[in-house]
């Protein structure tokens, strides 16, 4: 059946072809999605050509090794994929709202939706968004010029984009796996799903997973080696602590996933029997490996978001973070414990009560440091001066909803309850309840918080508030009802149901999904409105929120070399302390030449070749797989022969830019927090002194 030239790729692989032959609602929706990908792709290409942006895009972005630009590209990728993930979620909720004895989607289409939705949301929304924020913020916070390995950073982005590209291509060519985001064999083995679906999953996960492992190494080494003078570990902002913990998880948790996926590939391609039914295969080993990755993964996602909240809450409370050491210990405990709990994902696979009890207790133990963190944030509000900005609205939504997620997490950690609600909508409600308020709200708060740093202008506050409130309400209406359905025994991943009592609840959930869609629309409008009003929202002086860490001590957007002179760090919250002591914005004694890495195309070569290789492997086009792999290998080896990989920015140029900025800062009026969201705020914050009750009288 396979062709030497095209492998198993043929006309029937086109989803449009199916829609022409059998135009059912399911096929038409699939074809519509395929058309959206094709037209969207061509639309972008056409616009880039029309506005002659190819050159700038290539020079300034695609070949850039600047951690800030790579961070922004990661976030852009995440936001694009978020749109697809949310639309899929709304489609699933619509199917279930009409799902009493039927619905408009075929069960197969529904199963593809939940598989791509989960895969996309975890691997191509949450992970790139986090990698993007870390990339952007962390080097600035520790006073570094770039990541430790800037070129590897670019390659990591390239590999992540490869995975996302493969998932997008699956809308047009062939079909994605129907095995859920965890893709358990033997259901995803060659005997039960011989088509290209699971192969799409495998290669998008393997390639993106390698990228993430490299990112983890890069983040960790950057923090270990690139801190500015005086930036001791215990002077780092909490966000950087969370980045260390996350990097450790990335380095240790992603390899089991990559290995599990490659073993599954060996089963499917080479007739191995790691996880098959016959010849000694044992699918439980896959489940073990998957969750050895999967449970640390959820902490990989949420820990940096704890870090974001730990930056946002003190800043908008005008206070130091309460309990710095508690925060550090709590974060580290969570990172370590995250590797001790994976078995709770299969309490119901028949292991002994002792094993279940041990892993149940370990899982519950995570509630302790998490609780400590929550109380620390509350204590940070205590005796502060809290401004209700957009990131704070997300933080409040987080406080309320995340503790509910924590409560149901403690329930699920109990094997006795897990026996009942495992694999039901209760579980779905729980993990959405921690991932949306925990991870997504955190990331969106961070997006709003650091956007002015990245682009030099603030995001529109009103649209931001609308988006935040809609996210909170939308989440609540969509997922809280699912707890009830889960307790009633409705399994997850069901396209239909037979109990009429579920229907009103499903309608409520659909209403919530509509609110989430509205929230997403508000985010898009906010971006559009903010870009249009960027002159009014401009904060070039760099400190719009009266920030506390080093990233706020430089212009917005920062120059390529970040700091004109590397900062000397003397304390925790160094910039806030410097502002209080009047040490800021002083002319440095001397400027030095700065050596920065050159742009390179290697990341793009890897991205294009890896995408072609993934596609070739999915469709068994062996010549293309070998060719693209060879090109990638030659390019990577070739790169090592380049001797000169850096260029020097002369001190005079740096001095001129820095002096000009200092002059603007000195000339600008300092703005009180009362005017924080007004046009007056150009990024120079006024110092506001502590008050006592006596002073206030």
């Amino acid at each position: 059946m396979t062709d030497t030239l095209f492998g198993r790729l043929d006309l029937s692989s086109l989803s449009l072809w199916h829609a022409i032959q059998t135009p059912t609602p399911s096929e038409l929706i699939a074809a519509g999605a395929a058309m959206a990908v094709i037209l969207g792709g061509f639309g972008v290409l056409a616009l880039l050509t029309w506005f002659r942006l190819w050159g700038p895009l290539w020079r300034n972005w695609l070949t850039s090794v600047d951690h800030k630009r790579i961070g922004i590209m990661y976030c852009a990728l995440a936001l694009i994929m978020l749109a697809r993930g949310v639309i899929e979620g709304v489609l699933m909720r619509s199917q279930q709202a009409f799902g009493l004895h039927g619905g408009f989607l075929t069960p197969e289409h529904f199963s593809q939706l939940f598989s791509t939705h989960g895969t996309i949301m975890i691997f191509f929304v949450a992970m790139p968004f986090i990698a993007g924020v870390i990339n952007y913020v962390m080097p600035l916070q520790i006073g570094a010029r770039d990541m430790a390995f800037p070129v590897m950073n670019q390659i990591s982005l390239g590999l992540t984009a490869t995975g996302a590209a493969l998932v997008m291509i699956s809308l047009v060519l062939g079909q994605f796996s129907t095995g859920g985001w965890a893709n358990y064999p033997p259901y995803t083995g060659a005997d039960f799903q011989p088509g290209p679906g699971p192969d799409y999953w495998i290669w998008s996960i393997v390639l993106a997973g390698i990228g993430t492992t490299l990112s983890g190494i890069n983040f960790a080494v950057t923090i270990y080696k690139e801190r500015a003078p005086g930036m001791q570990f215990l002077r780092m902002p909490i966000f950087c602590w969370t980045v260390i913990c996350t990097s450790i998880i990335m380095v240790f948790a992603l390899p089991p996933l990559t290995v599990a996926a490659l073993m599954l590939a060996a089963d499917r391609y080479l007739d191995f029997h790691f996880f098959t039914n016959d010849l000694g295969g044992n699918m439980m080993n896959y489940v073990n490996l998957f969750w050895l990755f999967g449970h640390p993964e959820v902490y990989l996602l949420v820990i940096p978001c704890y870090g974001i909240f730990s930056e946002v809450i003190p800043t908008f409370s005008g206070k130091r973070i309460y309990g710095y050491m508690s925060m550090v210990y709590a974060t580290m405990s969570i990172a370590v414990l995250s590797f001790c709990v994976w078995l709770h994902h299969f309490f119901t696979m028949g292991q002994s009560a002792n094993i279940n009890a041990a892993f149940g207790i370990a899982s519950m133990a995570i509630a302790v440091p998490t609780g400590v963190k929550t109380y620390n944030w509350l204590a940070t509000l205590f005796r502060g001066r809290v401004r209700m900005t957009v990131p704070m609205i997300y933080a409040i939504g987080f406080f309320y909803l995340f503790v509910i997620g924590g409560l149901t997490g403690v329930m699920l950690a109990n094997p006795v309850i897990s026996y009942q609600v495992h694999n039901t909508l209760f579980l779905v409600a729980h993990f959405h309840n921690v991932i949306i308020p925990g991870v997504l709200f955190g990331l969106l708060a961070g997006y709003h918080f650091w956007f002015p740093k990245a682009f030099g202008f603030r995001l529109d506050e009103r649209w931001g508030r609308a988006a935040a409130c809609l996210w909170i309400a939308g989440f609540s209406f969509t997922f809280l009802p699912l707890y009830w359905l889960g307790l009633q025994g409705m399994p997850r991943r069901s396209a239909t149901f037979s109990d009429p009592a579920f229907q009103p609840v499903m309608w409520l959930a659909l209403f919530g999904a509509a609110l989430i869609l509205a929230a997403l629309t508000c985010l898009a409008v906010q971006l559009w409105v903010s870009i249009r009003n960027r002159d009014h929202l401009a904060v070039p002086l760099g400190d719009p929120w009266n920030g506390r860490a080093l990233e706020w001590s430089i212009p917005s957007p920062p120059p390529a070399y970040n700091f004109a002179v590397l900062p000397q760090v003397a304390a925790r919250d160094d910039f806030a302390m410097a502002k209080a002591d009047g040490r800021t914005f002083a002319e440095p004694d001397a400027y030095e030449d700065i050596e920065m890495p050159d742009n390179t195309a290697i990341g793009m070569i890897v991205c294009v070749c890896a995408t072609l290789m993934g596609l070739a492997l999915v469709f068994w086009i062996w010549w293309l797989a070998v060719l693209s792999f060879a090109v990638m290998l030659v390019a990577l080896i070739g790169r090592t022969f380049r001797v000169v990989t850096t260029h020097v920015i002369p001190a005079a140029e740096i001095a001129a830019a820095h002096r000009a900025w200092l002059a603007r800062v000195q000339a600008a009026p300092a703005v009180s927090r009362r005017d924080e969201t007004r046009e007056r705020n150009r990024g120079r914050a006024m110092l506001e002194r502590p008050t006592t009750p006596e002073a206030a009288e």
Partner: protein
């Protein structure tokens, strides 16, 4: 009469452990409520404090005290770590106890001798074999009340998870592996059972009825299955194992007249459960055509292979 009995029972099918039908589900419900209670001790303060703090320390409120450098308090620190630690410790002790007490592998105490049932997960239905009675059913698990029912489970296709929520929690069923579950119903009643682990297109319809009966009714039911059912032979099993809903299997095997999706078997040929359990353990590759649920499964091949 039989139809009436089943219909009457199923009109009030209980499908959640919140309305328990036996001691295990009842204990699970109690556990849920207890966890809720204990955890609320840690959570309610957050719910109350957030609005209070936000109101009192809002930027516009100049009369509230502002201490930007306050960052530690030994007493508060102790409470913050201590309270969750105490709650988790209490919950841990309870977790250890109940996990052992409600271990699904442990028979449930009851006056009557236990009933053994072998469960085979198929795409997309469950086959129940009664080894001591020599009968089998599809999608209908009948058993006497007040009796610990010992289920041995496996699947002849991909992984599944077997749940009768109103009686006890779920347990996975996996090819080539045997898992165990015990259930007990306090009173006669009909309970919904289902597969909760996604296994393909017919997944949403993989539901069955678990019917607890008075002992005499159960004997009558068994006699009816034995007299009214068809024999479960290698051939009819090969047909049954093909990926199809219970309703389709019922049509294919010509068992109309029973509730939807249900088939009765008067006898079981050989030790079917053990055969299924060891199907893949012979050290030779099994082609997809002989693997139920696989793409390309062919009942004829399986039959040919098994009768060799």
């Amino acid at each position: 009469m039989a139809g009436c009995l089943v219909l009457a029972a199923c009109s009030q099918t209980r499908d959640t452990f919140l309305v328990p039908g036996g001691p295990i589900a009842e204990a699970q419900r109690a556990e849920l409520i207890q966890i809720l209670g204990w955890t609320l001790i840690a959570i309610v303060p957050v719910f109350l404090l957030v609005p209070i703090l936000l109101r009192r320390y809002r930027y516009g409120n100049g009369s509230a005290r502002y201490t930007p450098d306050w960052e530690r308090s030994p007493l508060l620190e102790t409470l913050m770590w201590g309270v969750p630690l105490v709650i988790v410790t209490i919950l841990s002790v309870q977790l250890y106890r109940t996990t052992h007490a409600l271990d699904p592998y442990k028979p449930i105490a009851s006056g009557n001798p236990p009933l053994r049932v072998d469960v085979v997960g198929l795409d997309w239905k469950f086959l129940f074999i009664y080894p001591d009675l020599g009968i089998a059913t599809v999608n209908e698990l009948a058993f006497p009340e007040e009796t610990s029912v010992a289920l041995d489970l496996t699947t002849d296709t991909v992984m599944q998870s077997f749940l009768i929520s109103a009686l006890a929690g779920q347990i996975y069923t996996m090819p080539g592996m045997r898992t165990r579950l015990h259930i007990l119903a306090d009173d006669p009643g009909s309970f919904e059972g289902e597969n909760t682990q996604f296994n393909g297109d017919g997944f949403a319809d993989q539901k069955f009825r678990a019917i607890a009966m008075a002992p005499t009714d159960f004997d009558a039911w068994a006699a009816r299955v034995r007299s009214g059912g068809q024999p479960l032979t290698q051939a009819s099993y090969a047909e049954l194992a093909e990926a199809s809903s219970g309703a389709e299997a019922q049509r294919r095997l010509g068992a109309e007249g029973l509730p939807e999706g249900v088939v009765h078997f008067s006898s079981v040929e050989g030790d079917l459960f053990e055969t299924i359990l060891h199907r893949y353990m012979h050290g030779t590759a099994v082609p997809p055509s002989a693997q139920p649920g696989a793409v390309g499964y062919d009942p004829q091949t399986t039959l040919g292979k098994q009768t060799q």
